[in-house]
Protein backbone atom coordinates (compact mmCIF):
# COMPACT_ATOMS: atom_id res chain seq x y z
CA UNK A 1 0.00 0.00 0.00
CA UNK A 2 0.96 3.62 -0.41
CA UNK A 3 1.02 5.23 3.01
CA UNK A 4 1.24 8.96 3.64
CA UNK A 5 2.52 9.79 7.13
CA UNK A 6 1.64 13.36 8.06
CA UNK A 7 3.82 14.35 10.96
CA UNK A 8 3.67 17.61 12.88
CA UNK A 9 5.91 18.64 15.78
CA UNK A 10 8.23 21.65 16.07
CA UNK A 11 11.01 19.82 17.95
CA UNK A 12 12.96 17.17 15.98
CA UNK A 13 14.06 15.40 19.19
CA UNK A 14 10.55 15.14 20.66
CA UNK A 15 8.85 11.93 21.71
CA UNK A 16 6.39 12.42 18.85
CA UNK A 17 9.36 12.31 16.44
CA UNK A 18 10.32 8.95 17.96
CA UNK A 19 6.75 7.77 17.41
CA UNK A 20 6.95 8.83 13.76
CA UNK A 21 10.22 6.92 13.30
CA UNK A 22 8.68 3.72 14.68
CA UNK A 23 5.62 4.13 12.43
CA UNK A 24 7.73 4.67 9.32
CA UNK A 25 10.12 1.80 10.13
CA UNK A 26 7.30 -0.64 10.80
CA UNK A 27 5.44 0.30 7.62
CA UNK A 28 8.60 0.00 5.53
CA UNK A 29 9.39 -3.43 7.04
CA UNK A 30 5.88 -4.52 6.18
CA UNK A 31 6.67 -3.62 2.58
CA UNK A 32 4.56 -0.52 2.17
CA UNK A 33 5.59 2.50 0.15
CA UNK A 34 5.86 5.34 2.63
CA UNK A 35 6.00 9.08 2.08
CA UNK A 36 6.40 11.45 5.03
CA UNK A 37 5.19 15.02 5.25
CA UNK A 38 7.28 16.63 7.98
CA UNK A 39 5.29 19.85 8.07
CA UNK A 40 7.57 21.89 10.34
CA UNK A 41 10.79 20.74 8.65
CA UNK A 42 9.29 21.43 5.22
CA UNK A 43 8.39 24.94 6.34
CA UNK A 44 4.69 24.48 5.71
CA UNK A 45 2.83 27.81 5.98
CA UNK A 46 -0.33 27.05 7.99
CA UNK A 47 -2.53 30.06 7.21
CA UNK A 48 -4.92 29.87 4.30
CA UNK A 49 -4.34 33.13 2.40
CA UNK A 50 -6.93 35.68 1.28
CA UNK A 51 -6.33 34.67 -2.36
CA UNK A 52 -6.87 31.01 -1.53
CA UNK A 53 -10.05 31.82 0.36
CA UNK A 54 -11.45 33.92 -2.49
CA UNK A 55 -10.62 31.11 -4.96
CA UNK A 56 -11.69 28.20 -2.75
CA UNK A 57 -14.45 27.18 -5.16
CA UNK A 58 -11.95 26.91 -7.98
CA UNK A 59 -10.06 23.71 -8.71
CA UNK A 60 -6.57 23.05 -7.42
CA UNK A 61 -4.06 24.36 -4.93
CA UNK A 62 -1.36 27.02 -4.97
CA UNK A 63 1.74 26.05 -7.04
CA UNK A 64 3.87 25.62 -3.90
CA UNK A 65 1.38 23.06 -2.55
CA UNK A 66 1.27 20.86 -5.67
CA UNK A 67 3.48 18.17 -4.20
CA UNK A 68 1.36 17.99 -1.05
CA UNK A 69 -1.74 17.57 -3.21
CA UNK A 70 -0.02 14.91 -5.35
CA UNK A 71 0.89 12.92 -2.24
CA UNK A 72 -2.67 13.10 -0.97
CA UNK A 73 -3.99 11.72 -4.27
CA UNK A 74 -1.24 9.07 -4.34
CA UNK A 75 -1.84 7.37 -1.00
CA UNK A 76 -4.15 4.51 0.06
CA UNK A 77 -3.77 5.31 3.75
CA UNK A 78 -3.00 8.34 5.85
CA UNK A 79 -1.34 8.16 9.25
CA UNK A 80 -1.48 11.37 11.30
CA UNK A 81 1.27 11.67 13.92
CA UNK A 82 0.95 14.73 16.16
CA UNK A 83 0.77 15.98 19.75
CA UNK A 84 -2.78 16.84 20.87
CA UNK A 85 -2.92 20.51 21.80
CA UNK A 86 -6.16 22.10 22.97
CA UNK A 87 -7.90 18.78 22.43
CA UNK A 88 -7.04 18.70 18.73
CA UNK A 89 -4.50 19.13 15.98
CA UNK A 90 -1.64 21.61 16.16
CA UNK A 91 -2.23 24.69 14.00
CA UNK A 92 0.30 23.62 11.38
CA UNK A 93 -1.46 20.30 10.81
CA UNK A 94 -4.84 22.04 10.66
CA UNK A 95 -3.29 24.38 8.09
CA UNK A 96 -2.31 21.39 5.95
CA UNK A 97 -5.97 20.37 5.96
CA UNK A 98 -7.22 23.93 5.35
CA UNK A 99 -4.92 24.45 2.36
CA UNK A 100 -4.27 21.05 0.75
CA UNK A 101 -7.73 19.45 1.04
CA UNK A 102 -8.95 21.74 -1.73
CA UNK A 103 -11.53 21.43 -4.47
CA UNK A 104 -10.32 19.12 -7.22
CA UNK A 105 -7.98 17.42 -4.74
CA UNK A 106 -10.15 16.22 -1.85
CA UNK A 107 -13.64 17.18 -3.02
CA UNK A 108 -15.76 18.33 -5.91
CA UNK A 109 -18.97 20.20 -6.31
CA UNK A 110 -20.59 18.91 -9.51
CA UNK A 111 -22.87 21.36 -11.37
CA UNK A 112 -26.27 21.45 -9.71
CA UNK A 113 -25.13 19.58 -6.59
CA UNK A 114 -25.79 21.20 -3.24
CA UNK A 115 -23.24 19.22 -1.24
CA UNK A 116 -19.61 18.39 -1.85
CA UNK A 117 -18.55 14.98 -3.18
CA UNK A 118 -15.47 13.32 -1.75
CA UNK A 119 -12.64 12.72 -4.21
CA UNK A 120 -10.35 10.70 -1.97
CA UNK A 121 -11.82 7.28 -2.66
CA UNK A 122 -8.20 6.17 -2.88
CA UNK A 123 -7.94 6.51 0.92
CA UNK A 124 -9.08 3.28 2.59
CA UNK A 125 -7.39 3.61 5.98
CA UNK A 126 -6.99 6.52 8.37
CA UNK A 127 -4.91 6.38 11.53
CA UNK A 128 -4.13 8.86 14.28
CA UNK A 129 -1.17 8.36 16.58
CA UNK A 130 -1.12 11.10 19.17
CA UNK A 131 0.08 12.12 22.63
CA UNK A 132 -1.84 14.02 25.29
CA UNK A 133 -0.63 16.00 28.29
CA UNK A 134 -3.93 15.35 30.02
CA UNK A 135 -5.64 12.17 31.13
CA UNK A 136 -8.05 10.26 28.92
CA UNK A 137 -11.03 11.43 30.97
CA UNK A 138 -10.06 15.12 30.60
CA UNK A 139 -9.54 14.72 26.88
CA UNK A 140 -12.94 13.13 26.61
CA UNK A 141 -14.51 16.05 28.51
CA UNK A 142 -12.67 18.48 26.23
CA UNK A 143 -14.37 16.88 23.27
CA UNK A 144 -11.55 15.06 21.41
CA UNK A 145 -11.45 17.63 18.63
CA UNK A 146 -8.59 16.06 16.67
CA UNK A 147 -10.37 12.75 16.47
CA UNK A 148 -13.55 14.50 15.37
CA UNK A 149 -11.83 16.42 12.59
CA UNK A 150 -10.13 13.38 11.05
CA UNK A 151 -12.59 10.57 11.75
CA UNK A 152 -15.67 12.62 10.88
CA UNK A 153 -14.98 15.65 8.68
CA UNK A 154 -12.11 14.23 6.62
CA UNK A 155 -13.42 10.69 6.63
CA UNK A 156 -16.52 11.53 4.58
CA UNK A 157 -14.28 12.49 1.63
CA UNK A 158 -12.43 9.14 1.69
CA UNK A 159 -13.52 5.67 0.58
CA UNK A 160 -16.97 4.81 2.01
CA UNK A 161 -15.54 1.75 3.78
CA UNK A 162 -12.45 3.51 5.13
CA UNK A 163 -11.16 1.92 8.35
CA UNK A 164 -9.88 3.99 11.24
CA UNK A 165 -7.20 3.35 13.85
CA UNK A 166 -6.67 5.40 17.00
CA UNK A 167 -3.51 5.05 19.10
CA UNK A 168 -3.15 7.52 21.94
CA UNK A 169 -0.83 8.05 24.87
CA UNK A 170 -2.18 10.07 27.81
CA UNK A 171 -0.59 12.00 30.69
CA UNK A 172 2.62 12.42 28.70
CA UNK A 173 4.37 14.54 31.32
CA UNK A 174 3.58 12.32 34.30
CA UNK A 175 4.47 8.86 33.10
CA UNK A 176 7.90 7.30 33.24
CA UNK A 177 10.09 6.18 30.38
CA UNK A 178 9.02 2.56 30.57
CA UNK A 179 5.40 3.53 29.80
CA UNK A 180 6.56 5.62 26.87
CA UNK A 181 8.71 2.76 25.59
CA UNK A 182 5.73 0.43 25.85
CA UNK A 183 3.68 2.83 23.78
CA UNK A 184 6.37 2.90 21.09
CA UNK A 185 6.36 -0.91 21.01
CA UNK A 186 2.59 -0.94 20.75
CA UNK A 187 2.71 1.50 17.82
CA UNK A 188 5.32 -0.65 16.09
CA UNK A 189 3.33 -3.85 16.56
CA UNK A 190 0.23 -2.19 15.21
CA UNK A 191 1.87 -0.92 12.03
CA UNK A 192 3.74 -4.18 11.45
CA UNK A 193 0.27 -5.70 10.99
CA UNK A 194 -0.90 -3.04 8.51
Amino acid sequence: MNVLVVYCHPVPTSFVAAVRDRVVEALARRGHDVRVEDLYAQGFEPSLTADERLAHREIGVEPELLEYATNLRWCDSIVFVYPTWWSGMPATLKGWVDRVWARGVAWDLPPGASTVRGRLRNVRRLAIVTTHGSARRINWLEGQAGRGTVFRSLRVLCHPLVRTTWLALYRMDHIDDSVRAKFLDKVERRFLRW
Partner: protein, 197 residues
Amino acid sequence: MKALVVVAHPVSTSLTRAAADRAVTGLESAGHEVTLLDLYAEGFAPAMSHGERVAYHSETPLISSDAIRAAELVRSSQILVFAYPTWWSDAPAIMRGFFERVFIPSVAFELDPGAGKVKPIMDHVSHLVGISTYGSPWTYVKIMHDNGRRMIMRALRMCTGRRTKTTWLGLYHIDDADDAVLTAFLERVENTMAGLS
Protein backbone atom coordinates in the same frame (compact mmCIF):
# COMPACT_ATOMS: atom_id res chain seq x y z
CA MET B 1 -15.27 45.37 32.01
CA LYS B 2 -12.42 44.82 29.58
CA ALA B 3 -13.09 42.72 26.52
CA LEU B 4 -10.83 41.07 23.96
CA VAL B 5 -12.26 40.17 20.55
CA VAL B 6 -10.01 37.78 18.60
CA VAL B 7 -10.90 37.39 14.93
CA ALA B 8 -9.42 35.04 12.32
CA HIS B 9 -10.38 35.43 8.67
CA PRO B 10 -8.04 36.09 5.74
CA VAL B 11 -10.53 38.31 3.87
CA SER B 12 -11.14 41.73 5.42
CA THR B 13 -14.59 42.05 3.79
CA SER B 14 -15.81 38.69 5.13
CA LEU B 15 -18.90 38.13 7.21
CA THR B 16 -16.72 36.88 10.08
CA ARG B 17 -14.82 40.17 10.12
CA ALA B 18 -18.10 42.11 9.99
CA ALA B 19 -19.43 40.04 12.89
CA ALA B 20 -16.31 40.85 14.93
CA ASP B 21 -16.82 44.57 14.25
CA ARG B 22 -20.45 44.35 15.33
CA ALA B 23 -19.39 42.49 18.47
CA VAL B 24 -17.05 45.41 19.25
CA THR B 25 -19.88 47.91 18.64
CA GLY B 26 -22.21 45.98 20.92
CA LEU B 27 -19.66 45.62 23.71
CA GLU B 28 -18.74 49.31 23.54
CA SER B 29 -22.38 50.34 23.68
CA ALA B 30 -22.62 48.38 26.93
CA GLY B 31 -19.73 50.43 28.30
CA HIS B 32 -16.97 47.81 28.03
CA GLU B 33 -13.44 48.69 27.04
CA VAL B 34 -12.72 46.61 23.92
CA THR B 35 -9.58 45.55 22.08
CA LEU B 36 -9.93 43.92 18.67
CA LEU B 37 -7.15 41.51 17.72
CA ASP B 38 -7.27 40.65 14.01
CA LEU B 39 -4.84 37.74 13.73
CA TYR B 40 -4.40 37.90 9.95
CA ALA B 41 -4.13 41.70 9.77
CA GLU B 42 -1.56 41.81 12.57
CA GLY B 43 0.55 39.05 11.06
CA PHE B 44 0.16 36.89 14.16
CA ALA B 45 2.48 33.85 13.89
CA PRO B 46 0.10 30.96 13.18
CA ALA B 47 1.91 28.12 14.92
CA MET B 48 4.05 27.33 17.94
CA SER B 49 7.73 27.61 17.05
CA HIS B 50 10.58 25.35 18.07
CA GLY B 51 11.75 27.95 20.61
CA GLU B 52 8.28 28.36 22.08
CA ARG B 53 7.83 24.62 22.47
CA VAL B 54 11.17 24.34 24.27
CA ALA B 55 10.26 27.29 26.55
CA TYR B 56 6.78 25.87 27.25
CA HIS B 57 7.75 24.06 30.46
CA SER B 58 10.27 26.70 31.59
CA GLU B 59 9.87 29.62 34.02
CA THR B 60 9.29 32.01 31.10
CA PRO B 61 7.09 30.26 28.54
CA LEU B 62 6.18 33.51 26.74
CA ILE B 63 9.06 34.49 24.46
CA SER B 64 7.58 36.11 21.32
CA SER B 65 6.38 39.72 21.23
CA ASP B 66 3.04 38.96 19.52
CA ALA B 67 2.21 36.22 22.05
CA ILE B 68 3.35 38.39 24.99
CA ARG B 69 1.05 41.22 23.90
CA ALA B 70 -1.85 38.81 23.37
CA ALA B 71 -1.24 37.21 26.78
CA GLU B 72 -1.34 40.63 28.47
CA LEU B 73 -4.67 41.34 26.77
CA VAL B 74 -6.03 37.96 27.89
CA ARG B 75 -4.88 38.46 31.49
CA SER B 76 -6.54 41.87 31.74
CA SER B 77 -9.83 40.88 30.08
CA GLN B 78 -13.05 39.70 31.68
CA ILE B 79 -14.76 39.03 28.35
CA LEU B 80 -13.12 36.85 25.68
CA VAL B 81 -14.73 36.69 22.23
CA PHE B 82 -13.51 34.46 19.40
CA ALA B 83 -14.80 34.95 15.85
CA TYR B 84 -13.85 32.63 13.00
CA PRO B 85 -15.24 30.66 10.06
CA THR B 86 -15.54 26.92 10.77
CA TRP B 87 -13.48 24.94 8.25
CA TRP B 88 -13.34 21.15 8.44
CA SER B 89 -15.46 21.30 11.59
CA ASP B 90 -12.66 23.14 13.37
CA ALA B 91 -11.21 26.63 13.74
CA PRO B 92 -8.81 27.88 11.03
CA ALA B 93 -5.14 27.05 11.63
CA ILE B 94 -4.28 30.56 12.81
CA MET B 95 -6.99 30.44 15.52
CA ARG B 96 -5.71 27.06 16.73
CA GLY B 97 -2.28 28.73 16.65
CA PHE B 98 -3.55 31.50 18.92
CA PHE B 99 -4.67 28.88 21.43
CA GLU B 100 -1.45 26.87 21.35
CA ARG B 101 0.80 29.97 21.57
CA VAL B 102 -1.12 32.17 24.03
CA PHE B 103 -3.12 29.86 26.30
CA ILE B 104 -0.04 28.32 27.87
CA PRO B 105 1.29 27.90 31.42
CA SER B 106 1.21 31.26 33.31
CA VAL B 107 -1.70 32.54 31.15
CA ALA B 108 -4.42 29.88 31.07
CA PHE B 109 -3.22 27.36 33.66
CA GLU B 110 -0.32 26.34 35.87
CA LEU B 111 1.23 22.92 35.72
CA ASP B 112 1.85 21.25 39.05
CA PRO B 113 4.42 18.57 38.30
CA GLY B 114 4.23 17.12 41.82
CA ALA B 115 0.51 16.42 41.85
CA GLY B 116 0.40 15.84 38.11
CA LYS B 117 -2.44 18.31 37.84
CA VAL B 118 -3.33 21.32 35.76
CA LYS B 119 -4.53 24.30 37.77
CA PRO B 120 -6.80 26.68 35.84
CA ILE B 121 -5.93 30.36 36.35
CA MET B 122 -8.35 32.24 34.10
CA ASP B 123 -10.91 32.88 36.83
CA HIS B 124 -10.82 36.57 35.87
CA VAL B 125 -12.85 35.65 32.77
CA SER B 126 -16.57 36.08 33.35
CA HIS B 127 -17.78 35.59 29.76
CA LEU B 128 -16.56 33.30 27.01
CA VAL B 129 -18.14 33.96 23.61
CA GLY B 130 -17.75 32.15 20.28
CA ILE B 131 -18.98 33.50 16.95
CA SER B 132 -18.73 31.26 13.91
CA THR B 133 -20.05 30.85 10.39
CA TYR B 134 -20.62 27.41 8.92
CA GLY B 135 -21.08 26.22 5.34
CA SER B 136 -23.08 23.24 6.57
CA PRO B 137 -26.54 23.08 8.11
CA TRP B 138 -26.81 22.79 11.89
CA THR B 139 -27.52 19.03 11.91
CA TYR B 140 -24.45 18.26 9.82
CA VAL B 141 -22.31 20.49 12.03
CA LYS B 142 -23.47 18.47 15.06
CA ILE B 143 -22.73 15.15 13.34
CA MET B 144 -19.25 16.42 12.46
CA HIS B 145 -18.67 17.25 16.15
CA ASP B 146 -18.19 21.05 15.85
CA ASN B 147 -14.62 20.71 17.06
CA GLY B 148 -13.78 24.42 17.14
CA ARG B 149 -16.73 25.07 19.42
CA ARG B 150 -15.58 22.22 21.66
CA MET B 151 -12.09 23.72 21.90
CA ILE B 152 -13.53 27.00 23.21
CA MET B 153 -16.65 25.94 25.14
CA ARG B 154 -15.10 22.86 26.75
CA ALA B 155 -11.30 22.86 26.71
CA LEU B 156 -10.81 26.59 27.30
CA ARG B 157 -13.86 26.74 29.56
CA MET B 158 -12.07 24.35 31.93
CA CYS B 159 -9.37 26.98 32.47
CA THR B 160 -11.86 29.68 33.50
CA GLY B 161 -13.80 30.14 36.71
CA ARG B 162 -16.72 28.18 38.06
CA ARG B 163 -19.18 30.97 37.27
CA THR B 164 -17.90 31.86 33.79
CA LYS B 165 -20.80 32.17 31.36
CA THR B 166 -20.62 30.92 27.81
CA THR B 167 -22.40 32.13 24.69
CA TRP B 168 -22.31 30.64 21.19
CA LEU B 169 -23.45 32.58 18.15
CA GLY B 170 -23.45 30.46 15.00
CA LEU B 171 -24.70 31.13 11.50
CA TYR B 172 -25.28 27.82 9.72
CA HIS B 173 -25.69 26.90 6.06
CA ILE B 174 -24.19 30.24 5.10
CA ASP B 175 -24.06 29.58 1.34
CA ASP B 176 -27.84 29.41 1.22
CA ALA B 177 -28.36 32.47 3.41
CA ASP B 178 -29.79 35.60 1.80
CA ASP B 179 -29.04 39.18 2.80
CA ALA B 180 -31.86 39.29 5.30
CA VAL B 181 -30.44 36.29 7.16
CA LEU B 182 -26.93 37.77 7.18
CA THR B 183 -28.21 41.12 8.44
CA ALA B 184 -30.24 39.40 11.13
CA PHE B 185 -27.17 37.45 12.25
CA LEU B 186 -25.05 40.61 12.55
CA GLU B 187 -27.83 42.27 14.55
CA ARG B 188 -28.03 39.25 16.82
CA VAL B 189 -24.27 39.45 17.41
CA GLU B 190 -24.40 43.15 18.27
CA ASN B 191 -27.48 42.84 20.47
CA THR B 192 -26.15 39.83 22.36
CA MET B 193 -22.83 41.56 23.00
CA ALA B 194 -24.63 44.74 24.10
CA GLY B 195 -26.49 42.62 26.64
CA LEU B 196 -23.37 41.19 28.33
CA SER B 197 -22.94 42.51 31.84
